[in-house]
Symmetry: none
Subunit: 227 residues, 4 copies
DNA sequence: CATGAATGAGCCTTCATTCAT
DNA sequence: TATGAATGAAGGCTCATTCAT
């Protein structure tokens, strides 16, 4: 998964910014700290991540994160709010595109989900959020309301469209969206859990997603032979 | 999910037991402490769980857990080793039963998985293990080798049998077992993540599993109409 | 120094005691516990010595020492009082013996000191007492008044006798007794400090004492050529 | 022993120093903490010394020692390594001085030993090291190899020189150096053991050393009348 | 008498957070 | 803005001591 390490930093350079280099640096600090926090939280989890490690990863020292974030919890919350939540927007554009079958839409949604989040360092956040949801209910609520729920709403609309058009069988919406999204989330989790420790065989994300879509589309289709 | 709260009987109060209360403790203590640890780890995660909380949950004081476990990490490891790993045995018996179609076997495996682990307080352990795998690689290795791998081997045998008998399509084994098991693991995770906080709508496990099996068996079947 | 390990247990058996074996055992317990404590304190020092180790050394369990001693400090105090202080008695008999020159008396005192204490497991006690004097002033006071002071009084009497008879030069009594006794105490300390760790070359006690007496007697003598 | 309390200037208060109080600390802290540790270890011994006491003695709080030392044991080791071992250097210069008789050299060595270490707060370290040698074998080894052994080598060279020049009798080197150094070490120990508790009469170090040298030089001399 | 399970005070150590520079 | 020395609350763990058996 070569895109994994490259995808994240893109689009944040400001080559033509007239302000002097130093204050540009200043402006970038919160982002840099969040990215560092993402790395360290991903590796150690929330509690075992030390602020100093995050600071060092960001190239600053112990006190600096506190210039931009009230405390550790706020860094965590900002991680979700600033980095992850905006990513949900990609879904809207997908649904806006007209003239696509439900199957095709589902395919595109899954692939976009992967390329926007799963193949990115952001893929550490679902695991982190899951691990800490009960310790930080407000963040969990935010994550659910602004990320999970909209994502599942997209899925649900696709299922409804497919059912309406006769392309998909009717399945109970609520459990279905969970069932469908679960393997994608688990793939992200898996990548941050066992693969970095060289535990177990590698899972190839592309093949995994192909297999997932193959099973899902056949499973949903009213004309399985053609799926 | 009514079974959830009932399945894991603590046995901590036995007023009518003729054996003396005090002398019985010695034998029962490790179990009681592990069950308490399961609760507290499930609620807070490893790092945020205090030994004293675990002790109090078990009805003892700070020092007592250390009479039975070397330290906090050993409690965690024992949780996996003593409580979770034995549960994998149920799979063998399932495969031993003769004369079942692959679809039926898959159904039974999923349901057994749920009743043995998912509907139990043990269902907190996959989430805990996922969150802490990188902090405790040896425990993660153990969990993978003794729980995940055998479980996936079962699934793989079912897929192979189904393909051999013509009941299932041929699918790439490796990603398929991940894809198939992912929703079950995610259901356990979900129950310990968002449902206890009253975040998001409840997910009914039975309906979820029905939907999952419905989608999977259709997706795998060579004669989808009859799945 | 083969006597070292053997000297201590001697003379405590009660073969002809009519009481039954069990109550004899009972009667011997405090002694056994003190001897065990001596071993463990010698090896680890007061604070690092665990009551359970002492108990195990004595062949009993955690609670038993508390049947005979109020607490850890009392075990330490009893060690000094019961085992060490009685040993000072040997000096009286030495002084009682008539018709000895001061030099010969000094020789006998040093050798008796060594055989009665230095070559014994009791030789651990001066080091222990020194290390803990400031934490247990009452015990230190006892040790000083009942062991050090009488011992130094013996020495002083010898020096005075020697000076009176013209065998010894006149030396300031107070510092002299310290100077003379110091090497003997240091030999005991050395044996319990660096020799058990195989650190540094061994010191042969007999040769050490010979050299000490040689230097001392020459140093004290009014006719050094004949010393 | 008036030098005793004065010799080890802590330098902890420098009100008229123009450098800012706060920025100066960083450089001075390790020294300050070691000196505080020296005091507290001397008073209580290793195990009974609390890090918080050391910190408070140094004018800082619980966490600060850990900014400079990994743990309690490292503070102990640093005490030996940083404060005591350098003191052994004084011996070299003594031996370098030409044209001195062996007796005069021995006199100077003993007096230097006393002024450099014995009359200093450092004199607590031999007692501490003796008490803890078996609990910290590596530190004991270091202490032996870098402090005891070089010191004894100096003594041995003096004895050999004296024997070669005919000033001293021939005495077995190995026990002799132990015997000769023992009273000096015991004087240090004594000062930190019974004198602070007002137990027993005071020992005047100067008189003690005079007496020691008198006895030793007479004891070693081939012409005792002139010693 | 003896046991050993249990207690709980106490200490070492960590680390989020502050603040003087 | 940034630093990093210092703080001090908090938690893991030990072990002297107790007491029900």
């Amino acid at each position: 998964m070569p895109a994994f390490t490259l995808a994240f930093r893109s689009g944040r350079r400001m080559h033509n910014c007239p302000i002097k280099r130093w204050s540009r640096r200043k402006a970038a600090r919160p982002q840099e700290i969040l990215e560092a926090a993402l790395d360290v939280f991903a590796e150690r989890g929330y509690a075992a991540a030390k602020i100093e490690d995050i600071a060092r990863h960001a190239g600053v020292t112990r006190g600096t994160p506190y210039l931009y974030f009230k405390n550790k919890e706020e860094i965590f919350a900002a991680l979700i709010r600033e980095l992850l939540l905006p990513k949900i927007a990609f879904g809207e554009s997908l649904m806006a595109e007209p003239g696509l079958g439900a199957g095709e839409r589902l395919r595109r949604l899954v692939r976009a989900w992967w390329s926007e989040v799963g193949a990115t360092r952001l893929s550490a956040l679902p695991k982190l959020m899951i691990a800490e949801a009960r310790n930080f209910p407000e963040v969990a609520q935010l994550y659910h309301d602004e990320f999970i729920a909209p994502g599942q709403a997209l899925l649900q609309r696709i299922l409804e469209e497919g059912a309406a058009s006769g392309e998909f069988r009717a399945v109970p919406a609520d459990p279905a969206v969970h069932v469908i999204s679960a393997p994608i989330v688990m793939l992200m989790i898996w990548q941050h859990t066992f693969m970095p420790c060289c535990i177990g065989h590698e899972v190839d994300p592309e093949l995994y997603l192909d297999t997932l879509l193959d099973l899902l589309l056949r499973g949903l289709s009213t004309h399985p032979a053609s799926a």
